[in-house]
């Protein structure tokens, strides 16, 4: 029995209207009205139910997309900066509005105004990937090949000082050019030991030297099936195998300074074994984490040069600026990143050691190659995008997969080595 019933007061005629208003949040329920309290309870319930759904029923991509500590610091920095700027605008608005008073009041008024608007604890924090520099590193052992110059018969190795960085797609950074692929999540902290990485992709000339020495036949040659390319003569321009294509003839003109392509992951292993024997040093493919660390060059942005793709910085879809090549470009044609590494962005996809996993969940730490739980797929990771890719396809975080025997005129590789502290 309601309070109205007990008090023998009239029940309002617009009971229905009030129920609707309370449900809509337009009025606070009267404690004396069961109807209104019911509406308030329903409103609370609907909102609470929606909140629970927001947390529990999440799209797969959102579930993977957890903001990292580094991103949180960036968000804090951006928000703090925006608050500061808005605070500045408020200050100017106040001068305009109260100009006369401000002049009369003089300094004392402005001091009071500033004190009243003072916001504390809003110190911007800029994320900087940590780079631990070891005193034992001797960079003089490593020579960087200048822009536009080419390496010799063996890859030119660079010293990459170890450090920490955030691998994968960081919201607000890597997704700026148009989003990340689901496989790039979650962003995760990664620690990399010092290692050595080739400045360039392995060139046609370097690979030819290997073949001359070993009479090696690549998978494209020995299987007689050729290499995958985009058939521009067929409607829809499908990617198909072309028996006439191999590293010697990838479907476009090349010379010894171009990055070798139509190379399978399996072929890379043969080259690396020969190179190791030839130089009495153990080479290998970079791990995926090492590759991304080196490609980022200490930057958190989508590309090592910033957040906007540029034909002056990399060879990708179309031509323009420094990018004069419709297909692959000679190695070393584009500026190096802060680690002096070149051509990680675009030109050719680069094979890395890791087998393919759909996401970074459960990835081992320490920058080692992730070769467990491959689910027998025989797929390996390739990184960096190629000459055919759009802007989003050459980001430092971009990754894709390929079978161990797959070859295409988009695939190439570069080599890495462990760094030995005692090395002279």
């Amino acid at each position: 029995m309601s309070k109205e019933d007990l008090d023998q007061t009239l029940i309002p005629k617009d009971d229905e209207e009030q129920w609707r208003k309370v449900l809509h949040g337009e009025m606070v329920p009267a404690e004396s009205s069961d109807t209104q309290l019911d509406a308030a309870a329903i409103r609370s319930y609907l909102i609470a139910r929606d909140e629970v759904q927001a947390v529990t029923s999440v799209a797969e991509v959102d579930d993977l997309n957890v903001i990292s500590e580094e991103e949180a610091r960036v968000v804090y920095h951006k928000a703090s900066e925006e608050i500061r700027l808005r605070g500045k605008n408020t200050w100017f608005e106040a001068i305009k509005k109260y100009g006369a008073v401000f002049l009369i009041g003089g300094l004392s008024a402005s001091v009071l105004f500033l004190l009243a608007n003072k916001d504390t604890n809003l110190k911007p924090v800029v994320p900087t990937p940590t780079q631990v520099v070891d005193e034992a590193l001797n960079y003089s052992d490593y020579q960087v090949t200048d822009l536009g110059k080419f390496p010799g018969l063996f890859p030119n190795m660079l010293l990459i000082a170890g450090g920490n960085f955030t691998a994968g797609c960081s919201k607000g950074w890597d997704d700026v050019p148009g989003g990340c692929r689901p496989s790039e999540f979650p962003a995760h902290p990664m620690s990399i030991k010092t290692f050595e990485l080739a400045q360039h992709e392995v060139t046609v000339g370097q690979f030819a030297h290997f073949v001359e020495q070993t009479q090696y036949l690549t998978d494209a040659e020995k299987e007689g099936k050729g290499c995958v390319h985009q058939d521009m003569l067929t409607e829809g321009h499908p990617w198909v195998m072309n028996t006439e294509l191999s590293w010697r003839n990838p479907g476009y003109e090349q010379d010894d300074h171009f990055p070798v392509t139509c190379i399978s992951w399996n072929d890379t292993q043969s080259y690396i074994k020969w190179l190791s024997d030839e130089t009495k040093t153990t080479y290998r493919l970079p791990t995926e984490a090492e590759w991304e660390y080196a490609a980022r060059g200490g930057k958190a942005t989508a590309y090592f040069w910033g957040s906007v793709a540029s034909n002056d910085q990399a060879n990708y879809q179309g031509v323009g600026g420094q990018d004069k090549w419709e297909f692959a470009a000679p190695v070393g044609s584009f500026p190096a990143n802060p680690f002096s590494v070149q051509d990680t962005s675009g030109n050719l996809w680069e094979w890395v050691q890791d087998c393919w996993h759909k996401t970074y969940h459960n990835m081992p730490s320490g920058g080692v190659a992730w070769e467990s739980d491959c689910a027998g797929s025989n797929s390996r990771v390739r990184r960096g995008g190629a000459w055919d890719a759009g802007a989003a396809g050459i980001r430092s975080a971009i990754r894709s997969s390929g079978g161990e025997f797959d070859r295409s005129n988009l695939y190439g590789f570069r080599v890495a080595r462990d760094w030995q502290k005692q090395k002279k």
Partner: protein, 184 residues
């Protein structure tokens, strides 16, 4: 969670910002279909409000408060774009705090009285509605109405006519009464 963001310690606010992002994605998916950049803008605005107003609730910041913050930001954002003003929008503009934190009666408020005095009961009733043919859409309409959206606004987002939305809301009370007597 909030203190970590405000003080920039431990996870630097990663957990609370992940929650914000989750809510923004939810509202985008269920109610307002936001673009990537719009979602970014909303997240940024929420982050600004967390920094500006967070100190008021730093010790008792609840999930529902953050949810209300995001929800109101999404609604404000969509309204700014469509330049629509519902009755509720005008009324809340006069109350900045309400606009910022939302007006959400605590759940416990509804448990003390009335015919629908059990959360379990409401759960059963709305679960029953949800499994009906148009149940999910109906609940979405009711929820948006509870958010304070007008019939016109709900109509645009649910792709129903304004009359149809009004009818669904009007029928809700009767429908609930029947379901409560049946399930509770």
């Amino acid at each position: 969670m909030l203190c970590n963001l405000l003080d920039q310690k431990q996870d630097y606010g990663a957990a609370i910002l992940s929650l914000v992002e989750r809510y923004v994605n939810h509202f985008s998916r269920c109610y307002c279909n936001l673009s990537f950049h719009e979602k970014q803008d909303i997240s940024q605005e929420v982050a600004i409000k967390l920094l500006c107003y967070g100190h008021k609730v730093r010790e008792n910041c609840s999930r529902s408060w953050i949810y209300a913050l995001v929800r109101n930001q999404c609604i404000s954002f969509v309204r700014k774009q469509t330049t629509e003003l519902s009755v509720l929008n005008r009324s809340t503009e006069a109350n900045d705090d309400a606009n910022i934190v939302g007006v959400i009666p605590p759940l416990a408020e509804g448990t003390d009285f009335g015919m629908i005095n059990q959360i379990d009961c409401l759960q059963k009733v709305f679960d029953e509605i949800e499994i009906q043919e148009t149940g999910k859409v109906d609940i979405a309409i009711y929820t948006q109405y509870a958010f304070g959206l007008s019939y016109v606004e709900i109509s645009k987002r649910s792709k129903r006519t304004v009359d149809a939305v009004g009818r669904r809301i009007s029928l809700l009370k009767k429908r609930l009464k029947n379901l409560v007597s049946e399930h509770c």
